[in-house]
C-alpha cells in the first residue's frame, strides 16, 4: 500500500462546525484538519464534545452547521453521506451498546456483515478471521449479554471491522475494560492496522496514557480544540514529557488543576467489629454461577478495592452486600449483623452507587439530590442545606437545574457519588464509580473518598478497573469470573507476583486464570457451535440467494434486520408465548362469553288486583324464558328501591280493580317500568313485554270484538346464522380484534425499545435505509402474527366448533394482508412515540377504540355515520372484519371478499408508505 502516501488521500476536514443540544453548545465553531491513513487520538475530559464530534464524522449525527468532509465525501450532502457510510465503521460509547444481548457472538458480527451486503462465503471467512484474531474463536455461540466487558468490546470491534472500513471510529472503546483485555484490545487494533495501513483510526479516550500510542493527537476542552498535531510535536510544543501534563498545560489558566500530589494518610484501624464480612458467598442465576465462594473482611474506615473486569461478579457481590440480592449460599454481615432484606437500620448506614446511572432523568440534578436526601430521612430544612453543600463540593453548580439526561457520563457519575454520600453513610458501596470519568474528575473523586475514609472513618468498598485507583486502596481483591484470585495490599500483590507494578501483577493473575478456564472452554465450545448456526445459515443462504437476484443489495440488507429481529424474538420465549397464547385466551374467553341473547330478565310484580285475571297476566310473563320472577314487592317505595338498586330490571304494576275494569271494557292501565340504564337491554325488554302482552291479549281474544284479523304475515329468515348464536357471529370478530391488538403492540414496542435502549444507532451508522430497517423489523412480526392467525382459526373451528363455511384460502389471504397492515400500524405508532410506556398506551387506545366500536365487531360498520364512519373506513380492521365474517359465516370465497381485500390492501400499502416517510 505504498501508493497511499504520495497520493496524499483526503483526510477529515472540519470547517466551522457548531453543534447544539437545545441551549447547550457541544461544539463551538470547530475547525480541524486531520490526516488520513494514521491513528488519531481524541482526548479531553467528559462533556467537551468528543462524542459529538465523532458522531458527526461517522455520519450518525446530523450536521447542524459548518462543513464536514470525510475521506473526500461531503457529509452535509445526503447522497454523498450515503455513499460514504459503507466506508466507515463506528463503535459507540458504552460497553457493547451496539450489540444485541440475546444474539451470540457470531450472530452479532454476522448481522453487521449482512448489513454491508457481504455474501455468505465472504462473511464466514471474515468473521472466522476476526474471531481468531481477537481470541474469541472458542466462543462463537455465547450470547453477547453473557460476555465480560472486555469481550463485549472485542465483539464490538469485530462488528465494526467486519466490512473492511477505511475509517474506524472508536468512542472510548476501553472504558470499563480490565487491563488484560485492554492490552489485548490495543494489540489487536495495531495488528489490524498493520494489515491495512491505509485505514484511518480515530479513538477518543479518557486514559491519557493510552493516547500516547496514537500518531496524531487532538485535545479538546469545552467544545473547542486545544491542539491538533502529531503526538510527538505536542509534547515538544508544550515542553512536557507526558500527555497528562501536556493536556493540563494546554488548559486555560483558571482550569488547571493542581498537580495531583496525592497524599494518603496511612490507615489505622479504629477498632470495633469489622464493617463488612463475607463468608463463602455464592450466587447462582439458573445454571450460571455469578459469584462463587467469595470471602473477605473489611475493617472500619478501610478503603477496600474490588478489581476485575465487567461481568466478573463484582456487581453481584455488591448487590448481595446491600441486601438487593439474596445469596444462594454463604453469609454476609455488616457491623457484625447478618444482612436481611427489609432491615431499614442497615440501609440507613449504607450509601450505594450502582454501575449504570440509576438516578431519575426526569428530575433535575438538584431534585434528584433532594429526593435522595429526604428519603434518607433528613428533615427538609437540613436537606436543602445538605444538597447545596453537595452541589458545591462535587462541583455540580453549573448543571444543578438541568436533567442528568443531558449531562456527560462523568458528570453523571459525580452526581451519583454526591447522591450516595448525601446521608453521611458509614459504609459506601461504589460499583465502578469512576468508569467513564476523566482523570481530573477522578482525582477529585478520590480526594473525597480519602477524606471520608480517614477523617470520618467511612468504610469504602469500591470496585474499579483503573490500576492507579486500585493502588490507592488500602487493600484490594482481584476478581475474575466469579472467583477471588487474590486479596492483599497493593504492595503485597505486586511483590507476590514479582511484577514491576500492580497492572502487571493483575495481568499475571488474569493470565493464570484465563489459561485454566480457556482449556475448559476449548473442550466444550466447538461441539455446540455448528448445530444452531448451520440451520440459520442454510435458510439465510437460500433466501439471500433468491432475494439477492431480485433486489440487488436492497433485500439482503432488509433480510439482515429481519433475521436478527427473528432470532431475538425466538430467543425471547416469554414474549413468544405471550404473543401466541394471548390471542387464543382472548378468543376463547371473549367469543364464548359475549352474547346478545337477552334472557332471564329479572322482574317483579306489584299486584294490587290479586284476581285470577291479573294472575293470568303475570303467568304469561312467568311462562316466557325471557323473564325470571323475583319475590313481589311490598309497596311502590320498595319497587322504586329495587329498580334503582338493580335488583329488578322490569316491574309490572297492576292496578286495583284491573279485572273489574277489563270486564267492563274500561281499558285499565297496566304500568310497565323498565330499567333503562343499559339502552340495549331496555329496548329488548320493551320488545319482549310488547310481545308477551300481545300474546296475552290474543288469549283474551275470545272475549274481544270481531274484526281483529291479521292482514299479512311477515316471515323473518335469519341468514348466515340461522340458530342466531352469538358465538358464530362473534368469533370472526374476536379473531380480528386479537390480530389488530397484539401484532400491533409487538411491532410498535420492537421499534420504540430500540430507540430507548440505543441500539438504533446501528441503523444510523450503517448504509441501510430506514425503509430496509422497517421492512426487516416488520417481517418477523408478520410471520409470528401469521402463525397466530392460523392458530386462532384452528381453535375457532376445532375447539369452539365454529364452522368455516367459506374459503379458507380467501380468509387466509385476507389474514396475511391484515397482519401486514396491523404490524405496519405498529411501525407507524412507533414513529411518533418516544417511550415504551407511551407506545403501550398509544397502541392500546388507537387500536381498541376503533376495533371494538367502528369496525363492525359489536355494531355493524354499515350503520355508522359521520366521523365514526370515516374512522371505521380508514381502519384496516373494518375491512378484515368483513372478510372474516364473510368467510366464516356467509360461506363466501375469493371473489366476493376479493373486493374487500383489494380495497383494503391498498389501504395497508398506504399505511406502509406513510410510516416509511416518517
Amino acid at each position: 500500500m505504498s501508493e497511499a502516501a504520495p497520493h496524499n488521500p483526503p483526510g477529515i476536514r472540519i470547517a466551522g462546525v457548531t453543534h447544539r443540544y437545545g441551549a447547550v453548545t457541544a461544539l463551538a465553531d470547530v475547525t480541524l484538519d486531520l490526516p488520513a491513513g494514521t491513528t488519531i487520538g481524541l482526548v479531553g475530559p467528559d462533556g467537551v464534545g468528543k462524542s459529538t464530534l465523532l458522531g458527526l464524522i461517522a455520519g450518525v449525527r446530523r450536521l447542524q452547521s459548518g462543513r464536514l468532509d470525510v475521506l473526500g465525501a461531503d457529509i452535509g450532502d445526503r447522497h454523498a453521506r450515503e455513499a460514504f457510510l459503507p466506508r466507515v465503521a463506528f463503535m459507540p460509547q458504552g460497553l457493547g451498546r451496539n450489540l444485541y444481548p440475546t444474539l451470540s457472538v457470531w450472530e452479532n458480527i454476522d448481522f453487521f456483515a449482512r448489513l454491508f451486503g457481504m455474501d455468505a462465503r465472504e462473511r464466514d471467512a471474515r468473521i472466522q478471521r476476526l474471531l481468531d484474531a481477537t481470541g474469541l474463536a472458542p466462543f462463537p455461540d455465547r450470547a453477547a449479554g453473557h460476555l465480560s466487558g472486555g469481550m463485549k468490546q472485542k465483539v464490538s470491534l469485530c462488528c465494526a471491522l467486519v466490512h473492511d472500513p477505511d475509517l474506524l471510529i472508536l468512542d472510548e472503546p476501553t472504558t470499563g475494560v480490565d487491563p488484560l483485555s485492554r492490552q489485548q484490545f490495543w494489540t489487536l487494533v495495531d495488528q489490524l492496522r498493520r494489515e491495512r495501513p491505509t485505514m484511518t483510526v480515530i479513538v477518543s479516550t479518557a486514559y491519557m496514557e493510552e493516547a500516547e500510542r496514537f500518531a496524531w493527537l487532538v485535545a479538546m476542552d469545552d467544545g473547542k480544540v486545544l491542539i491538533s498535531d502529531q503526538t510527538q510535536k505536542v509534547l515538544e510544543r508544550t515542553h512536557t514529557t507526558s500527555l497528562e501534563a501536556a493536556y493540563i498545560s494546554l488548559l486555560p489558566e483558571g482550569k488547571r488543576q493542581q498537580a495531583s500530589g496525592f497524599v494518603i494518610p496511612p490507615y489505622a484501624d479504629p477498632g470495633g467489629p469489622p464493617a463488612i464480612e463475607a463468608e463463602h458467598l455464592t450466587r447462582r442465576f439458573g445454571s450460571f454461577t455469578a459469584v462463587s465462594d467469595v470471602s473477605f473482611t473489611i475493617s472500619r474506615g478501610e478503603i477496600f478495592g474490588f478489581l476485575g473486569s465487567n461481568g466478573c461478579g463484582k456487581s453481584t457481590t455488591m448487590k448481595m452486600l446491600t441486601g438487593l440480592l439474596d445469596a444462594t449460599s454463604g453469609t454476609a454481615r455488616l457491623f457484625g449483623e447478618q444482612i436481611t432484606a427489609g432491615d431499614m437500620k442497615t440501609r440507613m448506614r449504607i450509601g450505594y452507587m450502582s454501575q449504570a446511572f440509576s438516578l431519575y432523568e426526569e428530575l433535575t440534578v438538584r431534585q434528584n439530590l433532594m429526593l435522595q436526601a429526604r428519603l434518607y430521612r433528613i428533615p427538609a430544612a437540613q436537606a436543602a442545606q445538605r444538597v447545596a453543600q453537595a452541589i458545591e463540593s462535587f462541583e455540580l453548580g453549573a448543571c444543578a437545574d438541568v436533567s442528568p439526561a443531558s449531562l456527560p457520563l462523568g458528570i453523571r457519575q459525580r452526581l451519583q457519588l454526591a447522591a450516595a454520600c448525601i446521608n453521611n453513610p458509614e459504609i459506601l458501596i461504589l460499583d465502578e464509580p469512576t468508569s467513564g470519568v476523566d482523570p481530573a474528575a477522578r482525582d477529585m473523586f478520590w480526594r473525597h473518598l480519602i477524606r471520608l475514609s480517614r477523617q470520618d472513618h467511612v468504610t469504602i468498598f469500591v470496585s474499579t478497573h483503573f490500576m492507579n485507583e486500585a493502588a490507592r486502596c488500602d487493600r484490594i481483591s482481584l476478581m475474575h469470573r466469579g472467583h477471588v484470585l487474590a486479596v492483599g495490599t497493593p504492595a503485597e500483590l505486586v511483590k507476590k507476583r514479582n511484577a514491576p507494578n500492580l497492572e502487571a501483577a493483575f495481568i499475571a493473575y488474569l493470565q493464570d486464570a484465563e489459561a485454566a478456564t480457556d482449556a475448559q472452554d476449548h473442550a466444550t465450545a466447538p461441539a455446540r457451535q455448528s448445530a444452531a448456526r448451520t440451520w440459520w445459515h442454510a435458510l439465510g443462504g437460500r433466501l439471500a440467494a433468491r432475494f439477492g437476484a431480485v433486489g440487488g443489495a436492497w433485500l439482503p440488507r432488509a433480510w439482515a434486520f429481519a433475521r436478527r429481529e427473528g432470532v431475538e424474538l425466538l430467543r425471547d420465549r416469554l414474549r413468544l408465548t405471550f404473543a401466541l397464547i394471548g390471542p387464543l385466551i382472548l378468543l376463547v374467553v371473549a367469543a364464548s362469553s359475549i352474547s346478545f341473547d337477552v334472557e332471564g330478565v329479572r322482574f317483579t310484580v306489584d299486584d294490587h288486583d290479586r284476581t285470577t285475571i291479573s294472575r293470568d297476566l303475570i303467568d304469561s310473563f312467568r311462562g316466557s324464558a325471557y323473564f325470571h320472577e323475583l319475590a313481589p314487592v311490598a309497596d311502590a317505595d320498595a319497587l322504586d328501591r329495587d329498580i334503582r338498586n338493580g335488583r329488578v330490571q322490569l316491574a309490572l304494576d297492576i292496578p286495583a280493580g284491573f279485572a273489574r275494569d277489563l270486564e267492563a271494557g274500561r281499558r285499565p292501565e297496566v304500568g310497565v317500568i323498565i330499567d333503562g340504564a343499559v339502552p340495549f337491554l331496555a329496548a329488548n325488554v320493551r320488545a319482549y313485554v310488547t310481545g308477551v302482552l300481545a300474546g296475552y291479549a290474543a288469549t283474551l281474544g275470545r272475549a274481544m270484538p270481531q274484526g281483529a284479523v291479521i292482514p299479512i304475515t311477515v316471515e323473518p329468515r335469519f341468514s348466515y346464522n340461522q340458530e342466531f348464536r352469538s358465538i358464530y357471529a362473534m368469533t370472526p370478530g374476536v379473531i380480528m380484534l386479537a390480530l389488530i391488538l397484539i401484532p400491533t403492540m409487538l411491532t410498535a414496542l420492537g421499534v420504540v425499545r430500540e430507540k430507548e435502549v440505543g441500539s438504533i444507532v446501528n441503523l444510523y451508522a450503517s448504509p441501510a435505509s430506514v425503509g430496509q430497517y422497517l421492512m426487516g423489523k416488520q417481517a418477523p412480526y408478520v410471520a409470528l402474527a401469521t402463525i397466530s392467525y392460523f392458530m386462532l382459526v384452528a381453535v375457532a373451528v376445532v375447539v369452539m366448533g365454529v364452522p368455516l363455511k367459506g374459503s379458507l384460502l380467501a380468509l387466509s389471504l385476507g389474514g396475511v394482508l391484515f397482519v401486514l397492515s396491523a404490524t405496519g400500524l405498529g411501525l407507524l405508532i412507533s414513529t411518533f412515540v418516544s417511550s415504551q410506556v407511551a407506545a403501550i398506551f398509544g397502541t392500546s387506545i388507537i387500536c381498541l377504540i376503533p376495533a371494538v366500536n367502528f369496525s363492525g365487531l359489536l355494531y355493524p360498520a354499515s350503520t355508522l355515520t359521520g366521523i365514526s364512519r370515516l374512522v371505521g373506513l380508514g381502519f384496516p380492521a373494518t375491512w378484515y372484519q368483513l372478510i372474516s365474517l364473510g368467510c366464516f359465516t356467509k360461506g363466501l370465497g375469493g371473489r366476493a371478499s376479493g373486493r374487500c381485500t383489494w380495497r383494503w390492501a391498498a389501504l395497508a400499502q398506504a399505511t406502509c408508505w406513510l410510516r416509511a416517510c416518517c
Partner: protein
Amino acid sequence: MMRWLLNVGLLCGKELRSLVHDRVLLGLIVFAFSAGVLLVANGVKVEVSNATIAFIDEDNSPLSRRMRDAVQPPYFKPPVMVDRAEALAGMDRGDYIFVVDIPPNFQSDVLAARVPAVQLRVDATAMTQAGLGTEYLNEILMGEVDDMLHVPSPIDQVPFAVQSRIRFNPNSESKWFTSVMQIVTNITILSIVLVGAAVIREREHGTLEHLLVMPVTASEIAVAKIVTNGLVIFVGAIISLWLVVHVWLGVPIAGSVTLFAACSLLYLFSATALGIMLATVAPTMPQFGLLVVPVYAVAYLLSGAATPVESMPQVMQVVVRFLPTTQFVNLSQAILYRDAGLGAIALPLLTVTVTGIVFLVFALMRFRSMLARQE
C-alpha cells in the same frame, strides 16, 4: 407510619414529575378522555339505529310504496331499492342488514284478504341489530297495512292500556351509556398500563434497585405509584365525566358524583395494583405490553360495558362477578344512572377492594424476587 407516609409523599412528587415529563403520553391521556369519549359516544349506537335496509319490491303498488316510505330514521337508513341478485350480494358484502321482499300482487292479495307473506331476510351476524330490528320492522310493516285498511293495530286491540316507562334513560339514548362506559374503559386501560409500565421502566433503568438500597420499602414505592398515577387518571376521569359527558354531551347524571368519585378511587386502587402485579410477572417492557393486551381486552369485553353481563353464559356470569372491572361497571351504572343506595353497591365495592388487596399483596411478595431474576 409517619415515615411511611412521608416517603410515599416524596416518591409521589417524583412520580408526578416523571409523568409530566412524557408529553406524548400526557397527550394520549387527554385524547382518551376527550376525543376518545366523544368519538365513541357520538359514533356508536347500541340499540337499533341507522340499520341498513333494502327493498325488493315486485308489487310496486301504493301499499308497497307506503310500506317503503314508512321505514325511516332513526331506526333505519332510507331503504335502497334493489333486485334480488343485488340484494343477496349486498348482504354478503355487509351492505344491508335487512332485505324486505314484497311479492307480486301484494296489494291486491291484501285487499282480497288472502294474507300474503312479506319475506324479511336478516343478516343474523349483526347481533345487535338483527333481533330487535326484526321486531321493529314487523311492527312498522304491519302498522302500514293496518293503517291502510283502517283497522286498529293489535296492540290497540288489547283490552287494556299499557303505560310503559323506561326509567333512567327514557329515550334510550346510546350516548348516555357509551360515554360513561368509555370513561370506565379508559380508566381500566390507563391504570393497568401506566402503573405497570412505570414499574418496569424503573427496573430497566436501574432506579428501582437504587431506591431499594435506600431506607425505602417496596410498599412505599408501590403505593406511591398507585397514588400518583391513580390520581392523574382520577382527575382525568372526573373532568371528562363533568365537561365532556355532562356539559358537552348533555348526559344527565342522576346520582352523586361524589359517591362515584369515591368508588372510582377504590377501583383505581384495584386496577393499578393489578398493573403492578402484571409488571412483576413480565420481566421486560415488550413482554409486559403483550401481557396486558389480553388482560384489558378480556376485562373490557366481560365488564358489561360492551355487552350486557346478563347475556353471558351462566358460568361466566358467576366468574365475572369476581372481576373488579365488571363490578366497577356495575356500580358506575348503579350510581350514575339509577342513583342507587349504598346497599346496592356494597358488594361490588367489597369485590373491588378485596381484589385490589390481593393484587397488591401478590405484587409486593414478588417485588424483590423480580429484581433478582433480571440478571
